[in-house]
């Protein structure tokens, strides 16, 4: 949360100056577009059989892990600013 100091002008006035907070809260929510939950794409088909050499499988696993970490981090960031993203639980 950001705080901004807004000094009320102490004017030469006869009327009572209404006491206000010097530090006021400012909502600095990012635009809605930035807070849109990431859409998880559909995964690999389960009824296929493929021949994948070990290095290729390892690269695919690295990508998958990295994707999950980034998506999780993004969803946490979105949750920090507002309502949390609905948790999709992909089937094992």
């Amino acid at each position: 949360m950001l705080l901004s100091i807004a000094l009320q002008a102490c004017a030469h006035q006869a009327a009572d100056p209404a006491p206000t907070a010097v530090a006021v809260a400012i909502r600095d929510t990012p635009p809605a577009e930035l807070l849109a939950c990431p859409q998880r794409p559909e995964g690999f088909p389960l009824d296929s059989i493929a021949t994948l050499p070990k290095p290729v499988r390892e690269a695919a696993m690295r990508l998958a892990q990295s994707y999950a970490e980034i998506a999780d981090q993004l969803e946490r960031l979105i949750g920090w600013h507002g309502p949390s993203c609905p948790r999709e639980t992909p089937d094992a």
Binding site: M1, L3, Q8, C10, A11, H12, Q13, D16, P17, P19, T20, A21, V22, A23, V24, A25, R40, P41, E42, G43, F44, P45, L46, D47, S48, I49, A50, T51, L52, P53, K54, R57, A60, M61, L63, A64, Q65, Y67, A68, E69, A71, D72, E75, R76, G79, W80, S84, E88, P90, D91, A92
Partner: protein, 152 residues
């Protein structure tokens, strides 16, 4: 001694006049210095009141009355503003703590879920023979990446 007394007796009237004149001069000096002090004090009061955004001697009312009210108002304003500022800061601090706790919970849950997916992936990987991957391996990969199951 007698000579001195007779001298005083002879000049009594002159001496009385001298004493009265001295007293008058003393009084005049006291009056003048008091007046100077009063002028200076009034000037200071006017400066102080002007600094507080008021006037010491306004067109109506007793001197200093409006100014004293203004100073009281300013003091109250300052303390109330300070209180509200503290409240705002405290609320912000609490809000942040809550957010942090919520995020820590979420982070932990996701970490656990990713670790479970990774362990399932390792299991699936162990079951691969001759580089042939099947549905169970793809399912583990989908889960590891957090992808939706296909065909849904």
């Amino acid at each position: 001694m007698t000579a001195l007394l007779s001298l005083i007796g002879k000049h009594r009237a002159d001496l009385t006049l001298l004493a009265v004149a001295l007293a008058a001069a003393g009084l005049w000096v006291a009056y003048a210095s008091t007046k100077a002090e009063l002028t200076e004090t009034t000037l200071r009061a006017e400066q102080i009141c002007a600094a507080a955004g008021s006037a010491y001697q306004p067109a109506t009312g007793k001197p200093g009355e409006a100014c004293a009210r203004q100073v009281t108002r300013l003091t109250a304003f300052k303390s109330e503003a300070q209180d509200k500022t503290n409240e705002a800061l405290l609320a912000a601090m609490h809000a942040r703590e809550e957010k942090q706790a919520r995020d820590a919970e979420r982070r932990q849950a996701r970490l656990e879920s990713r670790l479970a997916a990774l362990s399932a992936m390792h299991t699936a990987e162990e079951e691969v023979h001759d580089d042939q991957v099947t549905g169970s391996w793809f399912a583990a990969l989908n889960r590891l990446a957090g992808l939706r199951a296909p065909g849904r």
